[in-house]
């Protein structure tokens, strides 16, 4: 594939064919617990888009200019986690200070996703796949949108599910996991579209 087109294909791939949630099954914890309601799903979804789109390039800079030159690639797990945590905390403080409505809708979700494995996963994939700075940003943004799409779809289904008869033993997380499985299979339908390793 032509290099100039790589960011574009990465963007779409991370939303559809390599959806971080549905193909890698990362970030399922908050996905399962928060998808009960559409409103909270929207808030968390937007928060994930924001955090992924910002922390991925940030971690790229740290990796490229701090870890690589000193040969400290093996420290990337711990360093990425610290960077993500500090950044999310700072953002939360800033939002709380300057925008009440934004804090209401988004801010309170930020601490929830500080240690979300999907966020760390995106930063690690970016290293493994050797993306450039711009591609990393696009990859983070796309993955966030992919996660957003998945949780919104799930919230929609779960709203309908309230009127459905579910076997008592499967109520809650059980049926949600099964539905997530079906959604993952449905998303496999996109797989012929773009392939990104």
């Amino acid at each position: 594939m032509h290099d100039a087109l790589l960011p574009l294909s990465v963007f779409f791939a991370s939303i559809f064919t390599s959806n971080i949630l549905l193909t890698n099954y990362l970030g399922t914890c908050s996905f399962l617990s928060v998808s009960k309601e559409m409103k909270t799903s929207l808030g968390l979804g937007v928060a994930v888009i924001f955090v992924m789109a910002t922390t991925t390039p940030l971690n790229w800079l740290v990796y490229e200019y701090l870890l690589l030159p000193f040969g400290l690639e093996y420290l990337r797990f711990i360093v990425f986690i610290i960077v993500i945590a500090a950044f999310v905390q700072l953002t939360e403080m800033a939002i709380e200070r300057y925008s009440e409505p934004l804090y209401q809708s988004l801010g309170i979700f930020l601490p929830l996703i500080t240690v979300n494995c999907a966020i760390l996963g995106v930063s690690l994939f970016m290293v493994i796949r050797e993306y450039s700075f711009f591609t990393s940003f696009v990859f983070g943004l796309g993955s966030g949108i992919g996660w957003f799409v998945a949780i919104i779809a799930m919230a929609g289904i779960r709203v309908k599910l309230k009127n459905a008869k579910v076997v008592p033993a499967l109520e809650g997380p059980g049926i949600t996991l099964i539905i997530a499985g079906f959604m993952a299979m449905a998303f496999m339908g996109f797989s012929g579209m773009i392939a990104v390793s």
């Binding site: 909270t40 740290v62 701090l66 870890l67 000193f70 040969g71 400290l72 420290l75 711990i78 360093v79 610290i82 960077v83 500090a86 905390q89 700072l90 403080m93 800033a94 200070r97 300057y98 009440e100 409505p101 209401q104 309170i108």
Partner: protein, 368 residues
Amino acid sequence: MVITLLISIAVISLISVFLALLMVIADATIGNYGIVRISINDGTKELEVKGGQPLLKALNQEGVFIPSACGGRGSCGLCKVRVVQGGGEYLPTELPFISEDEKKQQVRLSCQFKVKADVAIVIPEELFSVREFITRVERIRDLTHDIKEVTLRLKDGETITPLAGQYIQFKVPEYENTEESVYRAYSVASPPDDNTRVELEIRLVPNGICTTYVHTILKEGDEVTINGPYGEFYLRESDRNIIFIAGGSGMAPIKSILMDMAQKGINRKAMYFFGARSKRDLFLLDEMHALEQRLPNFTFVPALSEPAAEDNWEGETGLITDVVRRMVKDGPNSEAYLCGSPGMINACMAVLTELNVAPENIFYDKFS
């Protein structure tokens, strides 16, 4: 090898220091809300506190204690306070605990609501006298096989002035059954005129966090932190006859009220129905008989529901509700004070209503 090690430590430290520095700066700038003013009950009291912290914590630091059982984690829903000015929007973490009526009243969960600007709040007047006390266990004695009387002594020079019948919160420190300190409410059994001591009656509840702590770990001489006093369970001023009903450690507030009556010479007609299973569940009988001497119009009526054969019981038998129904004559001219388990209280309320005691004259303290 050593150099690689040093470099990696240096880099990690560098990143950590940089981020930590960033956080400190952020905390001092964007996290700094300056000094804000809290006006309580229409300006009765004005506090100046550091902004940005939860209201519950800010009030605590200034010596205004709002009852809270979970310690500010937003899970008990007890620390409600009316924020009449400067409240802003509800947080999603508060909503599960706030009803529609409370929303109209601007009731907030004070452990979640952060004071970022000047606010005006309304709290019950009595909370002004609520304080924290560091006490020492003066005495522990067995009242029955499962109830202990714990006497706490305040530090020299400190006094507590509960109304007879009110309760305090007992702070249980971390121990093997709890990972964090918790508060549990207990009625004060000692009379208010002894303002340097607090006497509690604590019944062992299987697996109860506080009761197990008191029964198995607490020793004489130990330090105990309490705060209070709280509560609406105290003797109302009137000429009506008084019906007291209690079971188990529900004895505590009633004993305090009776001793207060004796002290003040309040000689209203009063009957105290105390329900127990068998003789081994009865306690403080001598004290009750002494009170009967001091208060000529007072009668103590212990009743056993299942007296054991060896008890040789000659007093009242049967469920406490039946005994009350049998012995109370002038319901409409009575007021009742109940303290005990929710089951007992609900059953007694039904009987008292049958006996035409007006609902507004029934006061109770439910264990929960």
